[in-house]
Symmetry: C2
Subunit: 198 residues, 2 copies
């Protein structure tokens, strides 16, 4: 005996999402049937709209309804600094800090020889093009603190520095509020290396 077709199809759709296996998909599908009708209609509309109305900014690669995006067109922002991130989500995280007022550039990935991702597979060419305008003075590389993120940062630094543009990397160290006891050795090493005078 199989599930009735409508629920089987919904389970199949849920399973296409990352991190959702057949058990979770089944649970979500059964939950969906009992949801408010309006909520389900809104959900279906939101799925279609998200893909139809959202694009990547042709300048920075951020996700946006208008092209160029609101950050690229905001002339009140510091035009001389570009912060490079792996994905559009990272822009939101940075903006939540309320302390960075420059521009962004989204790589849409990192260099990863294992996954066969080279420089031409991520958004590097458009970054180099932006740097030719002589307005940008500093590139802050904010890729993740993973081996791939570090390798990408090093690669970008070697590529950009010769053009006389300052390249910086986010500091590594202890998380604010964390215990030294629980810090891993690599983080601790970075924290000691990057110690600052008080």
């Amino acid at each position: 005996m199989q599930y009735p077709e409508p629920i089987a199809k919904l389970i199949e759709s849920y399973m296409k999402l990352p991190g959702i296996g057949s058990k979770t998909a089944t649970r979500l599908a059964f939950y969906t049937i009992d949801m408010q009708q309006d909520d389900v209609t809104d959900f279906a509309k939101a799925l279609i709209a998200a893909q139809r109305d959202l694009h990547y900014c042709s300048i920075c690669g951020n996700i946006t309804e208008e092209d160029p995006c609101l950050i690229c067109t905001d002339k009140s922002r510091d035009q001389s600094t570009v912060l490079v991130v792996e994905g559009p989500k990272d822009i939101m995280t940075m903006e939540r800090m309320h302390e960075y007022h420059g521009l962004y550039h989204v790589l849409h990935g990192v260099l990863s020889p294992i996954e066969g991702k080279g420089p031409e597979d991520i958004n590097i060419a458009s970054l180099l093009k932006r740097l030719q305008n002589d307005v940008i003075k500093e590139v802050i590389v904010a890729t993740n603190a993973t081996p791939e993120g570090e390798a990408t940062a090093t690669y970008l630094s070697r590529l950009i520095k010769p053009a006389g543009i300052k390249v910086t990397r986010l500091a590594h160290g202890l998380s604010v509020g964390s215990d030294i006891e629980y810090a891993d050795e690599m983080t601790l090493l970075k924290a000691v290396e990057g110690r600052q005078e008080m």
Copy 2:
């Protein structure tokens, strides 16, 4: 700065699903944007269809496209046995065993004083009505092995037994393939109590 509206709405919809918080919802929403267009359209259609085309069987409470459901209308099944489960998903689990050929009844919940769920809040009245036909000789209570499931089983047993109908409960004991070392005390106690001659 906020997310563009289409993605904010999609995140909101994902967050209405059980067990999905804002971080997972954001991850799923960004993933959705990069999905195949067909997959997203199918997903949206499946959401609408699942709610529109599925109903609960008026006899047993199982989820179905036609009413009564395929199990209730299958005359080749043993009409004298009814297996009582908490939810429609449990029917699928039982059917996967391929060894039970009787009928089902879905309670759509369990008795739970903490959640204020009494006998009138779950599908008990319709079960009692089914038992009046004199065809049903045995009711197998297959509620979960939780305190609420046990209480519901006891309640049903007291209600149904006086009518001269046999009421049974699924056996408790060690899982097949499990180590005694890792069994909890309650399971072990039930396994000893329910020991069978070899």
